[in-house]
Each structure stands twice: as C-alpha cells, then as structure tokens.
Symmetry: D2
Amino acid sequence: MILIYFVFCHVLRTLLIHCKDSFNIIASVTNFIVNKKGNIVYLDQHVDREQNIFFMRIEFEFDEINFSPENFKLNFKNKLAQKFNMMWRLFTSEEKPKMGLFVSKYDHCLYDLLGRYNSKELNLEISFIVSNHTDLKHIAEKFNIPFYHIPVTKDTKAIAEEKQLELLSKYKVDFIVLARYMQIITNKIISEYPYNIINIHHSFLPAFVGAKPYHSAFKRGVKIIGATSHYVTEELDAGPIIAQDVAHVSHTFAIEDLIAKGRDLEKIVLSNAVKLHADRKVK
Amino acid sequence: MILIYFVFCHVLRTLLIHCKDSFNIIASVTNFIVNKKGNIVYLDQHVDREQNIFFMRIEFEFDEINFSPENFKLNFKNKLAQKFNMMWRLFTSEEKPKMGLFVSKYDHCLYDLLGRYNSKELNLEISFIVSNHTDLKHIAEKFNIPFYHIPVTKDTKAIAEEKQLELLSKYKVDFIVLARYMQIITNKIISEYPYNIINIHHSFLPAFVGAKPYHSAFKRGVKIIGATSHYVTEELDAGPIIAQDVAHVSHTFAIEDLIAKGRDLEKIVLSNAVKLHADRKVK
Amino acid sequence: MILIYFVFCHVLRTLLIHCKDSFNIIASVTNFIVNKKGNIVYLDQHVDREQNIFFMRIEFEFDEINFSPENFKLNFKNKLAQKFNMMWRLFTSEEKPKMGLFVSKYDHCLYDLLGRYNSKELNLEISFIVSNHTDLKHIAEKFNIPFYHIPVTKDTKAIAEEKQLELLSKYKVDFIVLARYMQIITNKIISEYPYNIINIHHSFLPAFVGAKPYHSAFKRGVKIIGATSHYVTEELDAGPIIAQDVAHVSHTFAIEDLIAKGRDLEKIVLSNAVKLHADRKVK
Amino acid sequence: MILIYFVFCHVLRTLLIHCKDSFNIIASVTNFIVNKKGNIVYLDQHVDREQNIFFMRIEFEFDEINFSPENFKLNFKNKLAQKFNMMWRLFTSEEKPKMGLFVSKYDHCLYDLLGRYNSKELNLEISFIVSNHTDLKHIAEKFNIPFYHIPVTKDTKAIAEEKQLELLSKYKVDFIVLARYMQIITNKIISEYPYNIINIHHSFLPAFVGAKPYHSAFKRGVKIIGATSHYVTEELDAGPIIAQDVAHVSHTFAIEDLIAKGRDLEKIVLSNAVKLHADRKVK
C-alpha cells in the first residue's frame, strides 16, 4: 500500500525563469522536462518587447520516487540556464516563505493581514512584527506574533536599520512587507532584499503631490481613488507594480470618507500583493 | 381648452447658486420661491468645507401664466443675491447651449460625440467643428456639421486664436469642447470662456510623465488606466474635474491594447462630461 | 468662561424624514427649523418618482442652552409630521446604535468588522456575537466581545430564534448584522427589526443560481464578480440594497481565486453597509 | 535586394487548439514546430479543470520562402491532431473575417462599431447591415455599407431567417453580430454559425427579470449596472462570455440616467467582444 502511495505521489513543482529573449527558449525548456519524464501541467510566458526580456512560469510533476531535485537543478543549470543566461528558481508549493512585517501607527493593513493569516489564507509564515512605535503592540499580542520596538529618529536611522537587519537575519526572513510603515527604507536593506520588499500607497487619478494629497484631490473634485502595491527599489515609489485597485468616489464624500475608502483599498491591495508574492505568482 | 392648457403648463426652471457659506442660505432661498407660489421639486446643496463655499441647485415650477422670469430675476437679485454676494444663473431645460468642437487628427471622441448628437442624446447644438488639420473633414461632412480648417504653427498661433475667437463669436458659442485637440489653448480664449472649455486626457495610476507615458506605464506593469475630463483653466491640466473613469488592464495587454483601452475611456468620459455640462449638472 | 463655552456649544442634530411626496415639504421643514433659530448645515432630498415617496436628510445646529429636544419633537410632530403623514427620526451623532452580530463558520467578515471596531472606525457598539457553531469563539475572545453559542437544527430552529430574541432584548440591540450567518432568518425576528437586519451575499454578472454558483460562473467564463449588502425583508434576498461592489476576474483565475476575491468583496461591502447604517446615511 | 527581403519576410501565424487534456500536449506541439524550423514567439495555454479541456494559442514565424501552409496543415493533421483528437485552426493576421451586422432600432452600438470600422480599428470587413426596421438605414448609407430590410413578424419569422441565410451565404459571412437586434435567433441560423454569433445585453447586480428590469433595479436601489457580450447558443443568453464591464450608479441617477449608462456599457463591451473575436483572441 505504501509503495502504491509513493508511485502515485506527485508533487507540483514550479520553475520560474527570466532571461534575454532568444530563439526557441520555450521548446528547449519543455523538451528538457519531457526528456526527464516530467508532465507539464501549466505554462505561462510573455515577452517584454520593450526590454526584450522573456518570462516563463512552468509547472510540472514527476514520478517522485525516481526524481531528484538536486540532479534536476544541476542538469538544468548546465544544459539550459548557462546557454540562455537565465535567472531561475525551482520550488514546490509546500515551502512557506518567511515574512517580516514593518508597521508604524496605522492598523488597517495589519488587521487585514493578521485576519487572513489566522484563517490560513496566506501561504507564508509571519516571523515577527517590527515598529518604530508601540501603538500596535497590543494587536501583535492578540495574534501571538513576536513584536519588536525599534524607534527611528533622524539621528538613529542607521543604527535602527542595523537592528532591523539583525532581526531579519536571526529569523531567516525571505521577504519584507511595509504595512504603512511610513519610513523610507534605505539601500542598506533594499540591496539585501531585491524584489523582496513590498510597499503600499494610495494615489489619485490624476496624481496629486505634496503634503496633503487628499485635500488637493478633494478640492479639485477627484472622482477616483486608488492604491498601488509595488516592490521597493532604490528609486522612490518607482518599483514594479504587483497589485492595484480603484474605487469611485463622488462630490458627496467628505475628506474623511475619501480617507476611509483609501484605507479599504490599501489593505485589500496590500494583502493581495503579499499573497501573489508568497505564491510566486507576481507577473 | 387652450386656457386650461396654459393654466397647467409648468416649465421646470433651475437655479444654480454658489457663494460664501453663511447662516441659513437654504431657508432664505426656499422661502423666496415659496412666497412667490413656486413648487420646489428638487434641491441639492453641499458645502466645500475647505474653501467655505456653498453650492446649491434648486428646481421649481411656477404657474406659468402669472410668472415673469424678468421679475423673478430682478427680485432675486435685489433681495437675495446681493445680501449673500451670490454667483447665480436661472435657466429652463428648453434652452440648448451652443457648442464649438475643436479636433485635430484623432477621431474616436469625434465619432462618439456625433453619434450621440445624431441620436438626440445630447441636449445641445453643435455649431461647428474646427481643426488645425483636414484629416477629419470627411466626418464633419458625413454628419453635416460646418467644418473650418485653421492651421496652427508656432508663428501663427496668435493669428489662429484670433480666427477661432471670430468663429466662436459669429456662432454665439456658449462652450468649447477640446476633443483631443492636442494644442494648448492660451489665456486669450480661456478668459473669454471661464469654466466653459472642456478637455479630456488619459492618465495612469500612479501618474507617468514625459513624452511616452504609455510606454513607461507598460514597463512598470501598470494595472489601471484612466481618463479625466476637466475644465480648462490657466494652470495646465489643473482645472475642476467633471468626469472620470478607469479600466483594469493586465500583463497580457500589449502597448497597443493599452492605447485602445485609453481611447475607449477618453470618448465615454468626454461625452459624459459634455452631457453633464450641457444639462448644467456638473457638481 | 464656562458660560461662553456653553453659549457656543453646538450639537449636530440630524432629522430623517420620508413620506408621500406633496407640495412644498422642503420649504415647510426648513421654515420650521429657521423659526426655532436653528442653523441648517446640510440638506439632501430626493423623490422616488416611481413610488412617489419623498426622502429628506437635514442636519442643523441649535444654540444648545435654549434647545429642548423634547419640545422640538412635540412641535414637529404636531405641526408637520401629522400634516404630511411623515415617518421621521431625530438623533445626534453621539448616540451609538447597539449591534448584534450573527456568524457561522466563515471568519473573513467577522475579522474585518472587529478590526474596524477596535480602530474606532465604526460609530456603534457590538453588544454580542452569536453563532450556531463554536468555530469562531476564539476570535470573539481575542477581541473581548461576549460570545453565545445557540445551535440551530431543523427541529430546534423555532426555539433557537426565541433564544436569539431574548439576547437581542436583554442587550437592547438596535440592529442585527448577518456576517455570513448562512441561516435563513424567519419573520419572527424580521418583524421585530424592520429595515434593521443587514445581510451580505456575493453574486455574478449575470446571475447564476443553484448549489454551486462559483462553478457555473467559472464554466461560463464570467469576468465580473460582485457582492451586495441589503436589508433583510420577508422576501428572500429582495430587500433594499445598502452597498455593492464588483471586481474584475479573468480566465487565469482558478475557482479558488474567484472564491477568495468573493470574500474580499463581501467583507468590504458588508463593513461599508454597517457603517452607513450606523451613521444613518443609507440612501 | 528583393531576395533579401523575402529571406527575412516572416509572417506571424497563429495556431488555435482545443482538445481533451492529456499527457504532454504542450511539448508535442512545440516540438512539432521547432522540428520544422519555426520560431515560437508566443504561447498561451490553460486547462479547464472542470471539463478537462485543454486550450492553446501558439504564435510562430517561419522562413517564408521554404514554408508551405498546405504541407504544414497536412503534417499537423496526421501527426498531432489525430493523435490528440484536436479541434484546431491555423491562420495569419492578414486574413480579415467577414461580418454580418444585425440591428433593429437602437443605434448606439451601430454608431460605435461603424466609427471604429472607419478608423481601421477593427481587423474585419462589414459585409452588410440587415434590420427588421428601416430606422437605421440612413446610418448605413452615411457609412456606405449595404443595407437590407427584412421585416420579421411572428408569421414570417421562418421566411425571414431563410432570407437572412441567403444574404449570409451570398456574402460568404464568417460571423454575425447582433447589435441590439432584439429578436431571438433560432437554431436554423445558430447551427450554421456555432460560436460565431455575438450578442450583447445589459444586466444588473444582482439580476432582475421581467419586462422592466431597469425599473425593478431602480426601485431596489441597485448600485451597479453591467453589460455582457456572449456567443449565442441554443440555450437563451447562456453561451460563453466574451467580454463584460460594469459601472457604478447611485441613488441620484434617474431611470433615464441608468438607461444611458447601460447604453455606454453595451456599445463598448460589444465592440470589444467583436474585436477579440475578429483577432481570434477570445479566451
């Protein structure tokens, strides 16, 4: 019986690839998997024509008793990855990435993430919550997540980031979520977590800059409000977009209604972005 | 029989008011109308708390044989408008405003406006179409609207605007619609048509500036595209917003799909803005 | 100084009215308030032309030391409410309505409501949580809300509703929220809480009926999913709509993605409906 | 020079496949193309897990001087299509499908399709317009499209459909668009054009049935209105969905505003569905 179980035990494995586009990458990869007796169950690819970059997500199953991930990786590296100069990762859906959660005083994104986390909706592990304030400590305690208070001032910013890096390293964190953290992350942390720091911010259509964007938007009669979640890169608020959404507002909305609607958007968009990232499904 | 007809003939009249907010404007206006035996059928007001400006739209009917608009206006001016320092207008739904239509080479907004115009969906009169090119002349002819070709170059811009003003004056135009006109209107025309020039432009969430916004948006993975119609004021693209809409796009959209979706949004939003303006329903 | 404070202490009072439409209701109400030296700060009205019903929301302030709510109510009743046969309510923004929360096994709406409740976003008091199961008891405890377990079977339904009514009465509950309660409420409770029971359900465009709507929708290639919050009336799922929202989905969504998106919509729409109801702002 | 031109002249060819899902279809197809020296530029596939059907869209280029489409088709049929029992089509982007346009009295969808057609936005040929009324004849003439008037009554419906089939056959029409045709198409025509008849209808969230859905929706306070374009199958309004969109409405919308917004949605959604179909991009 146990033998039969193993014979039919198929683990879904996912291979993510990106590289400079070139002739017949798709067929080369599919051939590689078929020659090793793998069954391809899903394939999604697209080419960024502007930058000429090829992206591919391919999911497949192997007869597990004869499959060695180490062997597969070695072969793939030597036969394909080097030839096409690929960036690539192989993983199974069982591996839960570890997440470090940065917050400040706003609690709406935190509640939304923790509610989903408790409901097992998120395929990840929240290692700790860190904040420059203690306002949200009681929420971390409610949900039994370790909470660290690392104050940040202009003078102590460098030291604070050192402490944050120690925490991230101690917990072997895979990615960071800024849930309305309200502080700019410097390159010291960004360079350690490329495309692994997720931020959220609201915005308007069209954009309003300055200290009080809600007030400017309200004054001009803005009818659409949005939220954008993106990866943090060195250029402020210019990293690749992971998820977005909008809501329609009207002249009957007071400023506090606009702000409340902005919070609703922020929490849903951030949680969806975190989910996409944890499932490695960001496009 | 004719007498009875007149006795019951009620014309719906609309009064638009805005002024500095102060004590009991609403009751003063409603009292004024009731004392003259008018029946209020609709009242909408709101206060811009940031700027402390009161806005009101009130619709009412009078027994027409005893009603004199001139008398009403004179009384209203002396008893109320002066006291509260009001900006106000009185009109009936029968009066169709005259519109001057400025186009260049893009035809999607033009087709949409003319289709609706032919279907009697728009409560207005299109007096003429003017363009700096002749590409869209055949469409004007198809729909039997006078077409004028006024070329614009850097050197002839001032002269061209003179000619445009002559046309606007000759046709007694009430408001101007820039249906992808692609030229900046100077203060010479803006000052003649305050809050009576309607423009349309697409945008992204968040905003992208520069010469090729679609390419920048595409590259960053933008998921939402929008269009905004607003009044033209001296400050470029900063006038009050009349109508907006958005559409969701995905990583499977090519740049030309983004641009096509942008056109769909632009034409619907512009036509809706024109309709709101012609019906004097802009908030 | 204390005297001066009282002189300027203005409480915002709101009057909600609906009645058969008739001549000059607006002016009669505004006059009534002005004659009592009240300052009207907001007025919103509309007429349901199909059913000829007039709705009005009017907000005003009085010099509080001379104002007696009892006097006002008595006068309003005798002079206006009887004349126009009005349904009406007067309240201040300080009065927090008491809410009874019914849940079953799904937790997403519960987490969202409790998160907002803890953040003081909701102007109400959650008196208790009642469920036919114990699965969500731990969440009620986390947030320190009394939790009652009243099992419901086909045979015990009548008894269960008696127990629910006792709870509602004991806590003097003003309105009920069914946060994915998954049980049909009978007329025994509905008749005690007319237009005071709020329900939420997802739906598709167009609608799918039967036991597995998500599967039917998925099979047909549905591109839009929605959620609707409405008042519970005797006719199943046919009461007045309070709030709605939609999301765009695509052929790349698996059934579980559709269901997850449905949960996001449900929680936001229900929480927004609860907020509108508690603020007495349902249109 | 001409020779060089031909050597580099690559025509983009698209292969659409669907069949029962089975082991390694993807790799078999990609291998087939690579072995013939084709360059795959795009591949999109998904599996309908409910019905176990595999769908694939693959785009590739060949060195055209050595490529024979007839040869390719014969080989593909013998080596792959038979083995996997595939439904498949091969085409190039140059082939414009011929469209027959059915209308009645509403003109908004007609104007939108003709405007785009004139702007070369649609990759298709409109062979003729047919209507059971003559109201829209003047529009067909404006745009120089042959117009046929085939009246339909209960008694003459069978004869009318015969005449319609003659027209469709005479013009060698590939697909039919019902642009608010308002008549039920019987199986006589449907069976000749399986998945080649496109319909549009508005709907609400949730759905309202009966003769006056706008009035029912309005009365219940509906906040979202939508439009759905789908293929016509024997079961009324139950065919696969091609495109959908929604708009938010509010209690300030009168019934005529709802209807106007419904028209805007219908025309955009229908035109987008027609475009997707003509580009063979329906999912």
